[in-house]
Every structure is written in C-alpha cells, then in structure tokens.
Amino acid sequence: MPTTLIDPSALATIGARRPLVDVAQTVGAEFAAVHGADVDRHARFPSEAIEALRRERALGALIPISLGGRGASLREVAIVGETLARSCASTAMVYAMHQIQVNCIVRHGRTPFLLEVLADAAAHERLFASATTEAGVGGAVRASVCAVDPIPDQPQRFRIEKQASVISYGEYAHAILATARRAPESAAGDQSLVYVPRDKTTLELTSEWDTFGFRGTCSNGFVLRAEGDRHQILPDAYADISTQTMLPTSHVVWSHLWLGLATEAVSRARAYLRAQARKTLGTRPTSAVAVAALVARLAEMRELVHGAARDYELIADDPEQLNRIGFAIRANNLKISASNMVVEIVTEAMSAIGMSAYREDSPYSIGRLLRDAHGAKAMIHNDRILGANAQWLLVAKEEL
C-alpha cells in the first residue's frame, strides 16, 4: 500500500478513538434516541446522530488503518447498526447503507484513485450513498437500463444518466455508488459500479419520501446525471462485487439493524412485565408467558444474525467459496428469515404489552418500531429473493 496515503495526524488519533461499541451506545442514547421521534415525524435526515458518529470517526470504521480508518471488521460495524437501531432506525439505516458502499470500495477498489477515495473518506469522514434501484427494473438490482456512456473524442471520460427512483440520503452524501451497464452496447446484467462524487453530479428530484417507516432515510427519487473519468469505475465486474460483497454485506448489516429493532421491542415488553409484576405482587402478570416466548424467539433471531455474520467473515477472502450457489442461497435466507422475524417479534411485543404499546405517548410505545420493522420486507421484496433462490435450487446440490 502506498505510504503517501497515510495521513500522520489521522494515525496519531487512532489510539485516542473510543471503541466502536461505546460510540454506538453513546451516540444512540445522546443523539439518536433524543431526536428519533422528530426525525420520524418530519421525515428528516438524522443530522445530529450522523454528525456525532462523524465526530467519533465511526463512518470510516471499515477503512484500513493504513489509509486512516479504524480497520474495523464488518461484524463490528454491523453491531453499531444494531445498537443505533434501538433508538432510531433511520440513523442506523444511513450508517448501515454507508458501510455497504465503503465495504465495496475497500474490497474491490484496489486502484490508486480508489485508495485515495478511501484515504479522503477516512480523513474527512465522508458519507456514501447508493443508486442501484432504477425505474424499469425496480429491486432487480442485477440489471441496469442506464449505461456508462463514453464521451466522444474523450476516451477517458464518461457520462451516466440514471432514473434512480430511490437514493437514500442522496442529498446529504459526499458521493454515490451507482450501477450501470458497462457500456452502451452491454447486456442488462453486464454492469459496472461507478463512484460519482456529488460535486460532479446533478440530482433532479423526481419523487419525495413519505413512507410508513425509515422516514428519516430521505430516500427521494432522482434523475442522476454525472460525468467523470474512467478511473471512477470499480475495476471488478459488478457481478462479482454483488455476489462477493454488496449482497452479503447488505444482508448482514440490515439483519443486524432489524435485530436491534426486535431487541428494543422485547426490552420494552420485559420492562412492562416487570412494572406489572410490581403492581400485582403474588400473581404472575398474564403477559409473562408471552414475553418468555418472545425472549426465546429473539435469542433465535440473534443466533441467526450473528451466526451469519461469523460465517461470512470466515470465507470473506475466499472468492471460490463466495461464488458458490450455496453461499448466495444462505445469504438470501438470512434476509428472508430475519425480515420475517423482526415483524413477528415486534408485533408480538405490541400484543404482549397491549394498550400501553399501542399508545404513541407511552414509554412502552411500539408504533415506530413496528412501522420501521415492516421496511425489512419491502427493501428488495422477499418474493423476489425467494424467486432467486428457487431458481438456484433447480441445480444446487450441496447441503443447505
């Protein structure tokens, strides 16, 4: 790795950085929890919590130490998302989606330009967004309509115009990673991943984000127009980036986030149970058995989510294993199971608590958690993911 990229002042502060688990807890309690309801109500960007994460140098966590980051593991940043989700799902989703983009560049961006991008991101705690969804293909992210279009007489330059119907926090990001067909003549599935900095991109607003949950992700729709140099294109084919990194990383960080929502709902149900028990000394509150079942179900979900992250980490550097159908199926299973479990657990917690959970003005309120939980299934429809697995099962042979 080129030593010129090391920013000595950044290196000097690494020792002083607080551990990520502490950062997640403090930012969760002091910022995400304080502003979460307002972020949700006004569907506004969770700027206080994201700024706090930035001050704590948590955005560049995955970037290697030699480039000025923390060199943290995916599991560590996924736990940050899990913790933040207990206070504000939108904050957690912004953090999680940003880390997906960073991981793609860390794992597939070994060119001088992209190493500079990472060093700059670590030094300035840059925020990265994603434009995979496109009008006409929806969540079928392994196909693109738009293409990397060469500019005539300028072989090093390209242009992209994408009908990006959902870009979370696009207006707040320093850069966007966009999928596009490799060239105008390329097939829909022959895609590249392109780094487009916001200052060289225009985003023309086409739809606003007024949704059931994850309201603070500000996932507006835009026409994205960018020009750039070919070195902004990640060198690996998107097919490989998707299989080896973007898809498994997304499912790992998202499922951790959903686990955070489920954990918070169960924690409220338990607090409610204890309060009830104090009032009805001598008789066990009626909800106690339901809460016991919830605790068991949550433990199952935690095992699934944390286990999947461990499994990915074990083979993360072995492309042979990552390219196997079995791995793709398991990564998809994680998304399907965890997104179903979070809705089930949060719904059951609401019913175990009853009226106090249904109220919006109670400490045991579950409304926002329930609305955010439903986002899990919508975020790339589970039917679409099951459809992909169904197709693989026509030929897959290994134990699953």
Partner: protein
C-alpha cells in the same frame, strides 16, 4: 463419450446456447473464448443451460462447477462437460 472431437462438443454447446442462452448476439459471432456473460447470458439462463447440458450429456454438474466461471465461455463449458463425461 458421445463426442469424438472438441469441435463436435463445441457445436452441441453452441446449439444449447442458442436454444437456452437468450444471448443478445448470434452465437456464431462469438469465439470459443468470448465472454458469454457480456454477451447477455443471465444467471436465469445459466440455470436453464445447465439443466439442458445435464440432460443432453447425462451428467450432473457438481457443486464446485456451479459458478459463473464455468459459464463464462464456450471453451469453459466444453471443458466442464469433458471433465464430467
């Protein structure tokens, strides 16, 4: 082994690609080594092609060959079939 020469084998692979590959270009315009994924072979079509190859040659692709690379060119496909017959 049904095919005496690699040319015969390639021809059968090309025939199955025409029927199941849903490529964007004429298969005849591709060399043995041209990239099939950039010619439009999707993962969906890969699955159909694999099933057709299994049926045609009475083979089963083992797990280790179920990857993009195996389906990247006519040459890779023929090699895989050769290995399994």
């Amino acid at each position: 082994m049904k095919h005496s020469t690699i040319t015969d084998l390639d021809a059968t692979v090309r025939d199955l690609l025409t029927r199941h590959g849903r490529l964007r270009v004429e298969i005849a315009s591709l060399s043995r080594f041209d990239d099939l994924h950039s010619a439009g072979l999707t993962s969906h079509a890969c699955v159909d092609l694999m099933l057709a190859l299994e049926d045609e040659f009475d083979i089963e692709f083992p797990e280790r060959l179920l990857k993009r690379q195996t389906f990247a060119s006519v040459a890779n496909l023929s090699d895989a079939v050769l290995e399994l017959t």
